[in-house]
């Protein structure tokens, strides 16, 4: 979970990205960005959010937003990216949603871990 700065524009965004990078580079990153402090975001800021989401998804993870202010929500809508992010009222809700969706490491489910699982199934049949 990470808190977004008050302003997310070009300069602030770069610094934020440096801070966030280690979290993005782990396997299956599950990131919640708490936007409660964020008051100002521009197109550069949105680009950074999209970049972060892309990076997270590349590693089979996800990035969720929480506590968006009305102004930030309106900007995301205006820029047509509101549908791309899952948005939650609070950071806790966003964090819980990762568990609810079963994004935990699958254990003991052989058919889930192909190709090894598939091979087992084929052998069994």
């Amino acid at each position: 979970m990470m808190e977004l700065p008050e302003k997310l524009q070009h300069a602030e965004g770069k610094a934020f990205l440096v801070e966030l990078r280690p979290l993005l580079e782990v396997d299956r990153p599950r990131i919640v960005l708490d936007c409660s402090q964020m008051e100002n975001i521009d197109s550069a800021g949105i680009e950074i959010l999209l970049h972060c989401m892309e990076e997270a998804m590349k590693r089979d993870g996800d990035l969720k937003l929480a506590a968006l202010s009305p102004a930030s929500a309106a900007i995301l809508e205006l820029m047509r990216v509101d549908r791309l992010f899952e948005v939650f009222a609070t950071a806790e809700e966003a964090a819980q949603s990762f568990h609810a969706l079963g994004l935990e490491e699958p254990q003991g489910l052989p058919w889930y871990s192909a190709p090894h699982g598939l091979a087992n199934l084929k052998a069994a049949s």
Binding site: Q9, A71, A74, E77, M79
Partner: protein, 356 residues
């Protein structure tokens, strides 16, 4: 029997309660709502036109000095219409009533320019005359309106502000059943646009109705790849670029540009606004770089000019507003100050792209 009209722009005293702009509007607009173009002309001009059509002998627009920069030239040319920029609205109102009285105008309408009403003005006047009151106030189902008819000779003798305030208490009221919009909130502006576009009120957009429900004003350019779904209005000299969608009671006022791929839905883009590429403007008002989301009830200043910006040309600076307004300090006949060298070009439109 003479009949005059005084329209007041920018009054913020209690008596003109509906003229006081609300916070959201103040953040969004630098000018009074009455002066904002809605479907090609301001509410102020629409009201002037109603008075002119009712054969009112003289129409005076009193503009509070602090709002003088917001008053723009009227689109039409009207005789017997004068504009005065004043420091104290109530003493100016009193002076104007005295002036009318001297000129033999016995009764006058006094109205806040923000109030848009389609009441029968002559019926209101006859009601007032028969009631033999000093002042008669209009009201509708939501309460009193900033619209009065006053006896000029009697009104000038006393305190005008008190007189207007007392009219309702004295029982001198006229109930308005016709369409009224107080234009207090941004939502009221949107309501007026949708009511006008859907024919729920008598206000009609300027320009030509090229297909049922689609009005295109002079000089508008619409790309072949743009799609306009009725009802909608595209203002004078506006440019609608390719792959845009203008839909659901949206109005794009004069000299705007909606750039490629952008969707405008149930929104008003006020004059001189550039809306950037690939955006989605829904349930909103945009004025230059100010964006009001009605859904989220928030006004945002867009700092990125690529997203949204004002295209208003920089005016020759004067301390008290534009040059036109400086002249307006003296009573004058209102007309478009710019010479018209040639007829405005016809609108240009791509074929088969408008959904009626």
């Amino acid at each position: 029997m003479g009949l005059g009209a005084i329209l007041v722009v920018g009054a913020e005293r209690e008596i003109f309660s509906s003229a006081a702009p609300q916070t959201d509007l103040k953040a969004l607009l630098a000018q009074p709502l009455a002066c904002v173009d809605i479907l090609g002309r301001s509410v102020l001009e629409s009201m002037i036109e109603r008075f002119v059509r009712a054969n009112v002998e003289a129409v005076t627009v009193l503009v509070a000095a602090e709002h003088s920069c917001g008053v723009e030239p009227l689109r039409g040319t009207y005789e017997h219409v004068s504009v005065r920029v004043v420091d104290d609205l109530f003493s100016a109102l009193s002076e104007q009533l005295s002036d009318y009285s001297r000129r033999g105008i016995e009764h006058s309408f006094v109205v806040s320019a923000s109030v848009y009403t389609e009441t029968d003005l002559l019926d209101l006047f006859y009601f007032h005359r028969e009631a033999r009151q000093v002042a008669t106030r209009g009201l509708d189902r939501d309460g009193p309106l900033d619209l009065w008819v006053v006896d000029c000779a009697q009104a000038q003798q006393g305190d005008v502000e008190g007189l207007l305030a007392q009219a309702e208490k004295a029982g001198a009221t006229y109930f308005i059943r016709e369409y009224v919009n107080r234009l207090l909130q941004p939502q009221d502006l949107r309501r007026l646009v949708s009511d006008a576009l859907s024919g729920r009120c008598a206000m009609r957009p300027c320009g030509r109705e090229v297909k049922p429900g689609i009005w295109i004003d002079t000089g508008a350019e619409i790309d072949r790849g743009a799609r306009i779904v009725a009802p909608a209005y595209i203002g004078r000299g506006s440019k609608i670029q390719e792959d845009t969608l203008i839909t659901r009671f949206s109005n794009i006022e004069r000299d705007c540009c909606v750039d490629c791929g952008t969707v405008i839905e149930d929104s008003s883009i006020l004059a001189n606004t550039h809306v950037g590429i690939w955006l989605e403007v829904r349930h909103a008002l945009a004025n230059g770089n100010m964006f009001l989301s009605l859904e989220h009830e928030v006004v945002i200043e867009i700092s990125d000019p690529g997203v949204m910006r004002s295209t208003r040309p920089v005016q020759q600076g004067t301390k008290d507003g534009w040059s036109w307004n400086r002249k307006a300090r003296e009573p004058q006949t209102v007309a478009d100050p710019k010479p018209k060298p040639s007829p405005a070009p016809e609108w240009q439109l791509g074929a088969d792209l408008i959904q009626g």
